[in-house]
Symmetry: C2
Subunit: 486 residues, 2 copies
């Protein structure tokens, strides 16, 4: 390896390790499912072997190189790893008996690994179990991936107000490394624990084991892939809807707080401003939609509330399940669900979207403005969860929001250039950027899917999902000339 390439060595090394992990996950459907359930075994085995080989070669090539990672290579690693996983995750779909195009395979894989949950597949109820399980595994892997990225990478990069969540373990120093390893183990434990608990709950409530495991994978990761075209509506059970709401909400809360709770810091979760606002918001919105439907002369308040809470939680946590076509509840519900697609869960969770804390910070700035308008000379301080909020954090939040809206604009215009109607274009762009799943309208709404969109639209949306998952700026910084200058 030439000396100019040396700086890339740690990037290649870490990507290679990720490839080996991916190949292990690719083998899981074949390992765990019966022979009957794996008609695509050939696709999984060859994909896994190929990826494993690539990973091993990468490790061999970078053997003995220094493993110090320059900050700017961190951006390349972050963006590169998600793109690589997306493309390679598509291999089993592409090589399977489904006979789908490369575009569709990659779309489904990106939508999986970014935990978006938009799908181009139909006939899920009759689909081979190995394919279904692979979709769920992609989301589960993507979920833990984003939690890890939040703890290890994002605060360090200082993107979109994320510096607010730096901890002692957010420094990449030798001293911080053991702390970060402990935190990582804790996060993995919580993630696996929640998944197990969720699967068990679903199973005890009437799902079969396969359904329970798949939905647990896609619930905790706030992914939203299902084993049925009717999504969670398939089970016709209010109890399952409420359980699912609970676990989606867990998946959309800051995981490092769960770890702290486990480590004896009782009450940190409940005292967290973001968590409280998030839960309050879910309840108030679900109640409002329940009341709206009651006023529209619908009956059975408990069913209405279960459905409202479930579908609201599904969109706000960016999971993207549906229990019914909520767009038919009326114009108010349609407008509400459009705006809910912006919200997102808490930072440090598996959820995407703008995220609750950014709205809280905006509100904080607004309150401050009111005070300043009335008392121009007042000295004001901001804090969030007991932490000072610097002007720099506010500025990085605006940069994030601005880029989010510009991406929304560009994607909407690009989709409409393909002849797609306005509501489908704007809600499709939004649902991709927020990693939610369904959009608004008959085509890509909760009762439709993304299959019939033009191929170009699928690529635009796929790029949008990756942008959203990577908080936009980490991708865009790679496109700036300054990045490559030195």
């Amino acid at each position: 390896m030439s000396s100019g390439m040396k700086d890339f060595a740690p990037v290649v090394y870490i990507l290679s390790i990720l490839l080996i992990l991916l190949s292990i996950f690719m083998a899981l459907p074949v390992v765990f499912l019966s022979f009957d359930a794996t008609p695509n075994a050939h696709a999984f085995i060859s994909s896994a072997l190929g990826v494993l080989l690539a990973g091993l070669i990468g490790i061999l090539l970078t053997r003995g190189e220094q493993h110090y990672l320059k900050p700017r290579y961190m951006f390349m690693l972050t963006v590169g790893s998600w793109i690589l996983m997306s493309v390679l995750g598509a291999l089993p779909f592409y090589l399977s008996n489904l006979g789908i195009s490369f575009t569709d395979a990659v779309f489904e894989s990106i939508s999986g690994i970014t935990t978006t949950g938009s799908t181009v597949f139909t006939g899920l109820d009759a689909m081979a179990e190995d394919i279904l399980l692979w979709r769920s595994i992609l989301q589960w892997v993507g979920g833990i991936g984003i939690i890890g990225m939040f703890v290890a990478v994002l605060p360090f990069l200082g993107i979109g107000g994320m510096r607010l969540f730096t901890t002692e373990s957010s420094e990449w120093t030798d001293k911080a490394l053991p702390r970060m390893k402990t935190l990582g183990r804790g996060l993995l434990l919580v993630y696996c624990g929640f998944t197990l608990l969720c699967a068990l709950t679903y199973w005890l409530s009437g799902m079969d084991l396969f359904e329970a495991v798949n939905h647990a994978f896609t619930t905790i990761s706030t992914g939203g892939y299902s084993t049925s075209d009717q999504s969670m509506g398939h089970f016709k059970s209010n109890v399952i809807l409420l359980e699912s709401s609970f676990f989606m909400a867990l998946g959309a809360m800051p995981f490092f707080l769960f770890v702290r709770e486990l480590n004896g810091q009782h009450g940190v979760l409940w005292r967290d401003q973001q968590v409280r606002a998030f839960l309050a918001f879910l309840l108030v919105t679900a109640l409002a939609l329940t009341l709206y439907r009651l006023f529209n002369h619908e009956t059975e308040p408990f069913t209405l509330f279960s459905s409202a809470l479930f579908n609201v939680t599904s969109i706000v946590t960016t999971t993207g399940y549906a229990s019914e076509d909520y767009l038919r509840w009326g114009p108010f519900a349609l407008a509400a669900f459009f705006f809910l697609t912006f919200v997102g869960g808490c930072s440090g969770s598996t959820a995407g979207g703008m995220k609750i804390f950014r709205f809280q910070l905006s509100l904080m700035v607004l309150r401050e403005q009111f005070k300043r308008l009335l008392h121009p000379r007042a000295v004001l301080t901001r804090n969030f969860n007991g932490r000072a909020v610097s002007d720099e954090i506010i500025a990085s939040m605006i940069a994030y929001a601005f880029v989010f809206l510009v991406c929304l604009l560009i994607m909407t215009l690009s989709l409409s250039l393909l002849g797609i109607d306005f509501v489908t274009s704007i809600s499709g762009a939004l649902t991709a950027l927020s990693n939610v799943g369904p959009g608004i309208g008959d085509q890509i709404g909760p009762s439709g899917n993304f299959q019939n969109l033009p191929d170009t639209a699928k690529w635009i949306l796929g790029i949008g999902m990756l942008l959203g998952r990577l908080e936009m700026l980490s991708v865009i910084v790679l496109l700036s000339p300054g990045f490559w200058r030195g």
Copy 2:
């Protein structure tokens, strides 16, 4: 007058002067139009006399009181004067032979005085001239009103990043008063001069004198009321469309820069960052839409460009004329016009909307973020038009943008609660907040109007127009408990 009321005296005094001015404007249709053209003379004369009487009483009541205005009463004065003008401006409509409801009369008046230009009237081509002229006068008055408010009130209140535009004359001190009077005279001169020039141009290009005057009033004020249901499309002239684009653009540029040019500071207009971005944006967008239509196999590039430039300028300057139903150009045009409704003109003009400089500041913050991501320790400074941009200005801009989006959210949800479809709700809310005029969709789009909306919707939109015109925060601060506490 009791001593506790004394603080209000200057508020009442200034409002009374405004009433007397309003009564003079109310008399104009009767003074200038022939007997045949004023079937509603009774309505105008009684409205003018009533308003005059109220103004005189107000002045008598506050005679001899101190005229010092406490800062917080400035908010009350600002908001109060716009509400008062809106309601009283509706009197001639309400008392006329049109037989319209109070709601419709107030809607038309608010839409006029805020220079929005959404209308509930149809059959304009056959309507009495006195009514048509009154609609145009309302917009012309509203236009100079907002320019005056920008110079005298807004920077002082420090709302939405407007502090960026404080000048020596923005201080309310005895020393600054003569300078402010000179500036005021200059602004009025420019405003009247442009109106005259515009009327003359229209007249020479084929409009009759009445049409030319009315359209000049509503062009320079970026209002958008027309004397024909077909708006500017009535004249079927590319030349008029281009002239109108030019004068709308003038109306949407910072008027204080015109005054400086007149005072010998040549080139200030062209060197202004906001003006350059504004003009470039208009041209690029118009070209893009022209190309889009050419690719869609439409012909006659000059006609296509004239129409694109005219309709884009109309929406971006928040005028709201239309020359044809641009929503039929295709999905891309529809999406584009939706987003154009956000943009707005330059600050210090008659235009509404978010305004160009806020996008420029956001972009500046974004660039800064990129630099910071790559060089965490770099020392960065921001400036706009050679002026330092403080963190406080950035914070007040976020507060503005956040409130804008929250108002958009609340209004959209409220409209959709009335059963109005999503696209009409969101674009109606947006067009009101931005003071543009037409929305998106068949009902309130460029080929429709606001007549058939429910009364409640008209009130919601009317409030939205006032909120937009007053940069939102100046209204909302009145609703905060802190304002009334002390």
